[in-house]
Subunit: 659 residues, 2 copies
Amino acid sequence: MSDIKHRVIFQPHNKMIEVADGENLIRAAMEAGVHINASCGGEGVCGKCRVILEQGEIEGGTEKLSDEDREKGYCLACLSKVKSDLVVRIPVESNVDASVLNIATSPRHTAKIKEFRLESIREQGLLIPPVVKRYLELPPPTAQDNLADVTRLLNFLKIRHDEHRLVVELDVMRQIPDLLREGDFKVTATIIRAVREDGKNHITRIEPGDTTNRNFAVAMDIGTTTIYGEVLDLNSGEVLSSYGDFNGQISYGEDVISRIIFAEKDGGLETLQKKVIQTINHVLEKIIKKASIKKYEVATITLAGNSTMTQLLLGITPRYIRRAPYVPASTLYPPFKASEIGIDLGSQTIALLYPGVSSYVGGDIVAGVMGSGLYQSDKLTLFMDIGTNAEIVIGNRDWLACTACSAGPAFEGGGITFGMRASKGAIEDFSIDPVTFEPMIMTKGNVRPKGICGSGLINIVALLFENNVINNRGKFNQELNTERIRKQDGIWEYVLVWKENSQIDRDITISEPDIDNLIRAKGAMYSGAMTLLEEVGMHINDIEQIILAGGFGSYVDLAKAMTIGLLPEIDPQKVIYLGNGSLLGAKMSSFTNLFRRNVGDVLKMMTNFELAETPSYMDHYVSALFLPHTEMNYFPKLKERMEARRSTVCKATKRDEIL
Amino acid sequence: MSDIKHRVIFQPHNKMIEVADGENLIRAAMEAGVHINASCGGEGVCGKCRVILEQGEIEGGTEKLSDEDREKGYCLACLSKVKSDLVVRIPVESNVDASVLNIATSPRHTAKIKEFRLESIREQGLLIPPVVKRYLELPPPTAQDNLADVTRLLNFLKIRHDEHRLVVELDVMRQIPDLLREGDFKVTATIIRAVREDGKNHITRIEPGDTTNRNFAVAMDIGTTTIYGEVLDLNSGEVLSSYGDFNGQISYGEDVISRIIFAEKDGGLETLQKKVIQTINHVLEKIIKKASIKKYEVATITLAGNSTMTQLLLGITPRYIRRAPYVPASTLYPPFKASEIGIDLGSQTIALLYPGVSSYVGGDIVAGVMGSGLYQSDKLTLFMDIGTNAEIVIGNRDWLACTACSAGPAFEGGGITFGMRASKGAIEDFSIDPVTFEPMIMTKGNVRPKGICGSGLINIVALLFENNVINNRGKFNQELNTERIRKQDGIWEYVLVWKENSQIDRDITISEPDIDNLIRAKGAMYSGAMTLLEEVGMHINDIEQIILAGGFGSYVDLAKAMTIGLLPEIDPQKVIYLGNGSLLGAKMSSFTNLFRRNVGDVLKMMTNFELAETPSYMDHYVSALFLPHTEMNYFPKLKERMEARRSTVCKATKRDEIL
């Protein structure tokens, strides 16, 4: 989308929102918190999202309408693209009080995205490049000056570039005599700097001529599900290419526990190591090709993953990770040659692995803590990486406490009847008409719905709750006058999409057991944070900032996440979305050794708590098995909103009854 | 031989020598400087070495004599073993003046052998062990203490053993989780210490239980001709086993230059690397078996070799070593895993390579300088490694100058008509009757002669010269009355062994071209030393100590080496024989990091001179192409001896003429 912005005013709500040129009109409504009945996810088949264009210009939206409707100014919101400032009228039943319209949904708040900027690191004086390239014009040897080739090289790196404590590995040494002469004694040396100033600096490559303008690294996130890689230009700070693919281990188990079980089988560890390396090499092939560089030009590859992924990558048995007392093999890993474990880069490309804290707070989380700058923050921060294994870090620049909890797979669509990953056809956004209880459904890719993804689930449950369709224990209000709430095979459910509008030839519903799974997942996380805070003598209301990491956080409507009690109630402006924190940390470590210098201290700061060993956890957990929580006072704004809504809807309903 | 000593008095010379019980009588005579005609090398076939036993007891010696001779008290010296104090009479022609007998040869002086004693290093406080084994009884992890395995290990190495700056490599990390549990958390860690205190210490092995009593290393000399290895017990300082074998590269050329030429051919470098590794592995197999240890118990292997051998071992092209301006690839090599180049030890065994100075002063010489303690000596020392490529180091603890000269292969038997290596049947000792010019020949293994080895050649030429059989330009005195001096195919020669007493069915001779080759070889070395001294503003008479290294030095009669002008004239007590200096240095570095700490400074101290670039070298060389030198004043004792001899022989000869 372009940078051009347009203002869209929705009537009769009288709500205005600014959107980018070309934005889908129904998404604009969703952003503005304006409800439009819409069941087909944006594919234009249900025909329910008819709106009247009163002013301005749209693109599309009328293809599927009759000439009569078109003449009246109707268009289908889900097929319309905003091309100018607009005034759009939503046809509402005349008997609905406008006051109800304004409580439909609060405007969406997704988190601010933390961006990486090399310049800002440089400006802050934090740039300690881990890789430097040095061009040298050496005097060729003579009878009077016949120093060894390596000695000549090192001497001049010292004299001309003030480089010290240099080590030349055998592989490089083998190439030096011919390379020096091939390059007429004009060469470029690649130096990988020690993390600390008293360490050794390794010369990992010598090239003929001046190649200082070509200095690259790879950052990679080794996720249980997905592996993401980026090629970085170390000179400019740019990401030259990126690519993600499913971790090839996935066919041996979806989560870390099933992987560990497989690794314990005969040959299992070797198989899993081979699979992850295959995926890594596939990702590398893609990003290296796309970036138009050569494998051997990659000086370092920085990898971050959870403890199980890290141990499997290195071929270290993860057996003791899943057995009490849950001991990882190591938390720190020495730099090693990427080729040593079969990573297909240069023979001298150095692999750096993010250190972890414990069996369940691994390198991915430490990378996120580093990448987010949490460890340097003044503010008491809650860091959450939401997933099946959810990790929580609380603290600031003075102290850090961390833990992991098993939230279950609900956030990734697991254990939910129509749950699915956030791919095409997944319901990701939702609103509900507070009177008719008709839904507004948005899917990924604007196609007919197939199922519900994690963020969709949160939005659905939050709005069902705010509209009193379900109560604080997640049970349906069985007295509401809508055919969408029904009991099927003894289970109460709400029909999100009728069969004919779905892709799957079945009604798509959300049931009480689905909601229960979500409540338990969010309860595990929230109570984890509560417990951690209590352990350090603080309270959840002290939280000044939230950082969300993981693929999940990008599309979560923060207000909704607070409504269901997944996140503590806080000004949404104070929530930062990190994106892939693991990749971000890996990337930042590729650009500056400052991170690797600091990470040792951060590890020492990060006190790990095992929730299973913390007696108060179970109490906190039980209290959190409500929407949003047994203690509504932790959610004062929600409480106020719900009270206001109740009285408004009540009044509106009463007027209906009077009429 | 036992420790029992006997005194042997030779008559009519009236010379006494103390020898070990069981010593061969002819060797005793040689040591005493008493000439006995003997041609067959000690096999008892020529029958010339008949002596009369006047007092005492011998074993053997009479097997090949007639009963008549036996009754008269005769025995063959070469077959007799000394079993008590003896008086032995040599039957001499009655017309020889006894005074002549006393000038036959000076007593033999071989150099004192430098011995390695771990205790003395320890007593001097110089023991900084490069490898330590630490036994730990770790508390097993619990829910309250579930530190990572590696963290637990490192913490307790710190607490219990004050070990810091530890690094665990991936290979070892892979084994730790299972090993710790297998050993019930009682384990022994092998730590390879950094050379300097601020370096990293590497944990290279973890074993269940207490294995601190098993701590081994290998020291190895990678010679152009031979590879020697020793298994060392790092706890006791003992050499557990040793073995030497010909370098498998030998079939691709005898000397470094021909190896370099081969290495430049297609696939040549790979072949030579493979061959030397094969030999190394063969030697390792032998010594490891003999020492009853396991491959993986070898913590380090320290290797020393010349620059070409070192580069071939590492697979680094030696191309530029043989081309002006003679530039080696490197002089320092980082520690690496022995397995990286195919050395068949543990996967974590660390290989350490001795650094060198230049293309022709390599790690073998630096090892010798370190092993001999030259770099710590107060005395101005001349260090010589005699061979085809002879290396010379001069200096003391304040400064060191070094050079190499191409002496040619004469010292190793090359370019000498009947030259051979010092193996069985090689003439290694010689004396000559000053009147009859009959020889006394001793061979390696006391068998009939096959040829002449390096030390034999020196002895022969020295005595021919002292007895005026040859002049100071190595030309025969054609007027001497003996059939042993003859002109054959236009070349003058001396017959050492008649055909019937040789193993090769030919007369064994030494010819003028042979002598010329030796003179050029010794001239190259002596003038190298002269030049080096002159460059640093000193003179050869300032030399206070000589250290001889290389296989060659063990049996050289120092007086003879001075007579021919190979060594400067010095008290033989001040000559130390190092044996295999390369192996000695490697061994000492295996026991104490002190050597590795010092070697960097020693390298900086060692100023390298290229003789080809030093104009005065050619003048010195030309002056040294005489026996012993154009300047007899550099050899005052020899001068005095020769003048005395000349007058004695002259008188004796005159008396003959009168009679």
